[in-house]
Symmetry: C2
Subunit: 345 residues, 2 copies
């Protein structure tokens, strides 16, 4: 006993590196692996039992990976992703057996986490544990850091969010509303547009696929111009936004999803507006802002407990259904943050 014997470790493995969005056939379930439920002697790793795994829009391959990028899919390796787990054994002084944690893990029942820098202990369990894959985890921190730290928002400002229906965009919009901003989002379907307005309290939303002239659309929704642009899209949308920014506007660049699969990115032509309007445009990664996590919880937990922020999940059950859940995310199949329940303990 005492974890020295090996147990079976069900896994979702990638067949190969991938390019672009994953297909179900890029992954397969394996029951061949075993694992010792004990960290190696002298190591400061943490062994977790995975409870929830997160399906995130960045869990994909890219034609031109950069040194900063994480490889989510590698040949015959478990898919990499964020998750929530229970510590079964720990060689790390900050984590002990029984702790609940969230951070980067793998798509399998048990994971030996050796990179513990981005692992957070979960102290508040009066909210659903699954929230730590989303609104209280990495996507939540991304929205929080991007909005409060990079956008420098002020009450009454005009905020535009592209790809607003994503886990990050939804939360940025709600944080902006709570601050007293005017908030408009763009999304890719009528249903998403309606949900942004009716459920998440956006002042306006539009379907970018139905707008032939993005500049005209933005002028319609922002006759006074845009103070803050939360950028998830890039390309033509960014060019149209630049034409509509107000003096001393801010653009937080979270991602540029419209550009990832192009052989060559689209050129952005209106950058002189950075000078005309004295705009600050800033790229960011959530990892640089992890030190703000306690402050983030102080802000978010009351909002969630008081029902001031709306949050929807789509939970698939069982590791075997994880590939379909991930693929469904990219086809826009589900409403709400997509995640997988691996074990209920």
């Amino acid at each position: 006993m005492s974890g020295m014997e090996e147990v079976s470790n069900k896994q979702v493995l990638a067949r190969d590196y991938i390019n672009g969005n994953p297909k179900e056939s890029d992954m397969y379930l394996s029951t061949e692996a075993t694992i010792k439920l004990k960290v190696p002697e002298g190591s400061n790793a943490v062994l977790v039992k995975n409870l929830y795994l997160s399906c995130d829009p960045f869990t994909r391959g890219t034609k031109k990976p950069t040194p900063d990028m994480i490889t989510f899919f590698a040949p015959n390796s478990p898919v990499v992703g964020f998750g929530v787990g229970r510590v079964l054994d720990s060689g790390h002084p900050e984590f002990k057996k029984g702790d609940l944690v969230w951070g980067m893990t793998k798509w399998e029942e048990y994971t030996l986490i050796t990179k513990t820098e981005g692992l957070f202990k979960i102290h508040h369990t009066d909210v659903p544990l699954s929230y730590y894959t989303g609104i209280l985890g990495m996507p939540g921190m991304t929205a929080y850091a991007g909005f409060y730290e990079i956008c420098s928002p002020k009450k009454g400002e005009y905020v535009f969010i592209s790809s607003a229906f994503g886990a990050v965009g939804q939360l940025v919009g709600q944080l902006a509303k709570l601050m007293g901003c005017y908030v408009v989002g763009s999304a890719g379907s009528k249903e998403k547009v309606e949900t942004l307005k009716n459920k998440f309290g956006f002042d306006e939303a539009f379907n970018y696929k139905e707008e032939k002239d993005l500049d005209a659309a933005l002028k319609r929704y922002f006759p006074q111009g845009i103070d803050i642009y939360f950028e998830n899209v890039g390309g033509k949308m960014l060019d149209a936004v630049l034409l509509n920014m107000r003096l001393h506007g801010r653009i937080a660049v979270c991602g540029m999803i419209s550009q990832y699969d192009l052989d060559e990115p689209e050129g952005v032509r209106n950058l002189m507006y950075l000078v005309f309007k004295r705009i600050r445009m800033q790229g960011f990664f959530v990892f640089d802002h992890y030190h703000l996590y306690p402050k983030f919880l102080e802000t978010l937990l009351p909002y969630i407990r008081e029902g001031k922020i709306d949050y929807v999940e789509h939970i698939a059950e069982g590791l075997e259904n994880a590939p379909a859940a991930l693929v469904g995310l990219f086809s826009g199949l589900h409403v709400g943050k997509s995640l997988v329940l691996v074990a209920s303990e």
Copy 2:
């Protein structure tokens, strides 16, 4: 007497609006105007005798003017520009007869300045008065604000300046060297490149016209990458710089001179590096930083008095030679800040 009678006011007038760089034939000298050397009763304008006028690279026309732009050339109106003058009469409580001032004026002997927000009193006359058209005036303030406020420089950082031979670029490079940065500039001729290195103390400089692959050139001069880019050029240069920025780099966008005369600006394709490298890219106008002028003088005056900063002027004599001086600026005819001596008092 007492200025109530009108005196002759020699002027350099524009024939029409212009598009792009001015030609000598776009301007003409007129001796027809007269002016009362007194501000109108009840006005808070300031009447100045112009002593020096500045030739600046932005003194040109543009195909697509924006609301923020100043019109330097308008039909049968004096050319607009920066200058140094002596106050002959004032309705403004902050300026009195006899004061020396610098700010926006017109290309004529006497100017009634009604917009006094950007007019500065000159207190230090142990340095040449002409310096207030350049290193101690608007271009100096542009370099100072752009470098210290927008670039957030630190000792030892790697700084790249495009169009480095301009009045602003020269000073940014010298301020960066004084802070202990490694400084490389690009310019458009062999002579300019040599002067940047030998006179202004740049660590390296290169002629962008001789580089077929700007990315390769930057990798040669910045094997460790670029922390700070002082952007005057835009287009292809910006795209190459983005590929070479270091983590948490800063780009101060002062101008994009390569783009002004294009029917459509070039597209910039590498903006995803803003995210990969968490870069802050920020446009600025010197006018937003005018409140820093006293601090600026505190920094610059000692550097000038102690000879720690090098500064070269090219002074044309007489209003009648102003059009040729301005045109010469655009053809890169002269070395040094180009200005016109209108009157020695």
